[in-house]
Amino acid sequence: MFVINCPYCGERDQTEFSCHGEAHIARPDNPAEVCDEEWGEYLFFRNNPKGIHFERWTHDHGCRRWFNVMRDTVSDKIIKTYKMGDQKPGVTDV
């Protein structure tokens, strides 16, 4: 089980949170104009790395706000949590 450092509330138990998949996926600016391949990529295709993963979590049973987590999917170790809108950290930043 993780202890997750909510950027708004501080350290809380994982059971207060839920994970909602890969972060930093930009919706195409002009959905009506993109082809099926691009739209499919945006909707369904994910990085799913064995290693550093950037993902979205919400603090459901706390502040109910969304934030991003940088986590190692091999060890499940959380490397960094940061607010929505903050720049994606580089691997060398932490």
């Binding site: 909707l43 790395p49 999917t73």
Partner: protein
């Protein structure tokens, strides 16, 4: 050596010390016609059907650990085919048809036990869902019986019908049941090797060689190997292998846990599944209750689920069966399951020529093992998927023709 009563008696004279090994450990040859990456049930089965039905001679199965040590040996062994959509019904029922003859086909007892599976309904909506699915099953030639509360209570007398989420009815598939998961891997391995397939264990693929858009070889921990066609049949590492070949998949890899209780006398002669309170349970022939439930929502390759999921599994179990509340749970373990957006597998071609993939079985791949292996063997040998496999192509994520079993059953399975 054929497993038979005659050979059992014959070997008893030498105190059963002279049985030959079920499969050997050959060296990796420098070249193969077909290599299957992944030595679980699906991969070994693919190699078996390629050799037996599609006349491929020079085949290897590469397994990074030991055969059946991945999700084949980690699941809760449930087999059923009562899926809602026609595409899934065709695929999973093809598997059940093969399951029924598998022990004699492989000359290996996979302990397939058609003990029946009850899908519980706890609300009006659940009753509507199982009724709709039951009728859909009828139309697809899959056995289904829609039972009311009284009928369920009679069949499973020690189940609590009037808990917080009362049991109102169930969808029963009598042809569903369980099988011994290890035996499936062992049976396919032995049968495949008898047909000349090389099973290479402890051989991890580290790179995929591609020339002019066609797969030409593999880099492995036991050296490089040339190959004409490759079938990727991973569980838990689909995206890692796809990454080596330069494409991405619509897959997230998440942990799924299961656990078993201490062995007790026979008490449950069927499989119970509840999507609404979310638990599934059966009793193994050893007497242990085998219990599973939902997967974690976060991506992980750790083969370890979160602790709170265990409580989420136990709470509905004890609610349904108060009689189990004092049982001790002996073991729990996790596997990594590759989940697709529509909870249906991906079978077919990839952007790389002669590189085929069979993955994304999510939380319910074991039940499909023979069917999946059979249709994938045909896909690899002919270069095109057959009618059963075609709807499960990678392309459906572009066309939008998803086989949406996630919505159909309201649960990952």
């Amino acid at each position: 050596m054929k497993y038979s009563f005659y050979n059992l008696v014959r070997n008893s004279f030498s105190y059963h010390e002279n049985w030959e090994k079920a499969w050997s450990s050959p060296e990796l040859k420098p070249e193969y016609d077909v290599i299957i990456v992944g030595g679980g049930g699906h991969g070994l089965g693919t190699a078996y059907y390629l050799a037996k039905e599609f006349g491929v001679k020079n085949i290897a199965v590469l397994e990074k650990g030991w055969i059946g040590g991945g999700n084949t040996g980690r699941n809760t062994t449930i087999i059923r085919s009562n899926y809602l959509w026609d595409e899934s019904a065709a695929l999973y029922n093809h598997a059940v048809n093969l399951w029924e003859g598998l022990s004699s086909e492989l000359n290996f007892n996979v302990m397939f036990s058609q003990r029946g599976l009850f899908h519980l309904a706890h609300s009006v909506h659940d009753m509507q869902e199982i009724t709709r699915r039951g009728y859909s099953n009828y139309l697809n030639g899959i056995d289904a019986e829609i039972l009311n509360q009284e009928q369920v209570a009679k069949k499973i007398p020690h189940m609590n019908m009037h808990g917080r989420y009362p049991v109102l009815g169930a969808l029963l598939q009598r042809r569903a049941g369980t099988a011994r998961h290890d035996a499936v891997a062992w049976g396919y391995a032995r049968a495949a090797e008898n047909l000349g397939v090389d099973i290479i264990q402890n051989c991890e693929v580290k790179g995929i060689d591609i020339s002019n858009g066609k797969v030409v070889g593999l880099q492995t921990t036991k050296g490089s190997v040339k190959v004409d066609k490759v079938g990727l049949v991973p569980a838990g590492h689909s995206s890692v292998l796809a990454d080596m070949a330069g494409f991405t998949l619509p897959i997230n890899s998440v942990p799924l846990q299961a656990l078993v209780s201490e062995p007790i006398k026979p008490i449950l002669d069927c499989v119970i599944m509840s999507n609404s309170v979310h638990v599934y349970v059966s009793q193994s022939d050893k007497g242990e209750l085998v219990v599973g439930a939902g997967s974690d929502a976060y991506n992980s390759y750790s083969q370890r689920g979160s602790f709170d999921m265990i409580e989420h599994m136990m709470a509905p179990l004890v609610e349904l069966f108060p009689i189990f509340s004092r049982l001790k749970m002996l073991r729990s373990w996790g596997g990594i399951v590759d989940v697709t957006p529509d909870r249906s597998p991906i079978i077919g071609k990839t952007p790389v020529k002669d590189l085929f993939i069979n993955c994304g079985w999510g939380t319910g791949g074991f039940k499909a093992t023979p069917g999946s292996a059979h249709v994938f063997a045909e896909t690899v040998s002919k270069g095109e998927p057959n009618d059963i496999a075609a709807p499960f192509s990678l392309d459906r994520h572009y066309s939008g023709a998803l086989v949406d079993e996630a919505a159909a059953a309201a649960v990952a399975h």
